[in-house]
């Protein structure tokens, strides 16, 4: 299925450019910076700068591997991925903290997700002050919304 994705990044400093690559199932897809500005963050009780990037990829219904790759350290400090929207599938800060992991690496190409957490690989992975890769596995929820009993639908 062809699915759009929107990624929101927050920072204490202005965000002029975002130099990241987005991979779905290990294939790189195009990205575009579509919005940037400043807004009030109710959790930190202050104004924060934000940037929004979009991409579109083709993925399966289940068990897709998303990777967001910063080959270089972001120019602003305290970068943080605030939320990800994958079509109708909204991944907020709470889920990001629970489900993502981060590998710190200077490699310019996509690296496979390490099997164990270590010195350079940890979870949660929403802070991106270092060059590296954020990993997230996701399934599209559309089928589960449309069919009350998903198993029945799968067996058809």
């Amino acid at each position: 299925m062809i699915v759009p994705i929107r990624l929101m990044i927050k920072s204490n400093q202005p965000i002029d450019t975002v130099e990241c690559k987005i991979y779905c199932n290990e294939v790189e897809f195009p990205t575009a910076l579509v919005d940037q500005g400043e807004h009030f963050d109710i959790y930190q009780n202050k104004n924060l700068f934000y940037a929004t990037i979009e991409s579109v990829f083709e993925c399966e219904q289940e068990n897709n591997k998303l990777a967001v790759h910063w080959p270089q350290k972001p120019k602003a400090d305290f970068y943080e991925i605030d939320d990800i929207e994958i079509d109708f599938f909204y991944i907020d800060k709470h889920r990001l903290l629970k489900e993502t992991s981060f590998l710190q690496t200077n490699e310019s190409t996509l690296q496979p997700k390490p099997s164990e957490l270590g010195n350079n690989y940890w979870a949660p992975g929403t802070l991106i002050n270092n060059p590296g890769i954020m990993y997230l596995t996701f399934s599209l929820p559309i089928a589960s919304w449309c069919f009350k009993n998903l198993d029945d639908w799968k067996s058809q």
Partner: protein, 203 residues
Amino acid sequence: MIDQRTIKFFQSLPKLDNPDKEFFEPAFDIFLNELETMYDVAQKVVIPPRVRKPYRWYLNDTTNGFNSVDLCNIDGVPAHDQYKKMFTNEELEQGKISWQSEHDCFKRALEPIGKQWRWVMLVRIDPMGYWAPHLNIPGINEHDYKLYWIPLNYDKHRYFAASDVGYFEPKLGTAYIQKGHIYTYSTINLSNMPMYNLAGVAQ
């Protein structure tokens, strides 16, 4: 920039391994070295970045209903000067498009079937961009047309689609025919390279 309507259009369709002949019929093969030449030339053609405007470049001035003055005014260069870089026609001469010599490769594109372009355009679809024939095709015979479509380069995840049928990834080296109603088609480019296509009607 993502176009939500295009995304929804594709999401409603199944992915096909091969084109359904009802909506995209492979017409003939083109040698890869010919395509390479066309691709090289195509990259040198001035096509402006897309800003909410459909691509409408290098239609013959004489197709009626379309006027290149509206279509090709790029960075202050008058449209007609852009037009003259590709074509020598001042007006239609015996129904034929007259090409500048460096664009002869486009003229030769339909030689395998012994035809020439009645009108033709170069369609560039940027990453995450989309294009559909109804953005450009003269609407005179929109219910009864036959569009030749030649992809000039290849990268992954570039799809052609038709409503109620599906979408598929076109092969490099094949010229396709689109026929039927122009509003049923769409194309999307999810690769990181611009997708160049030659599309037009033959005579």
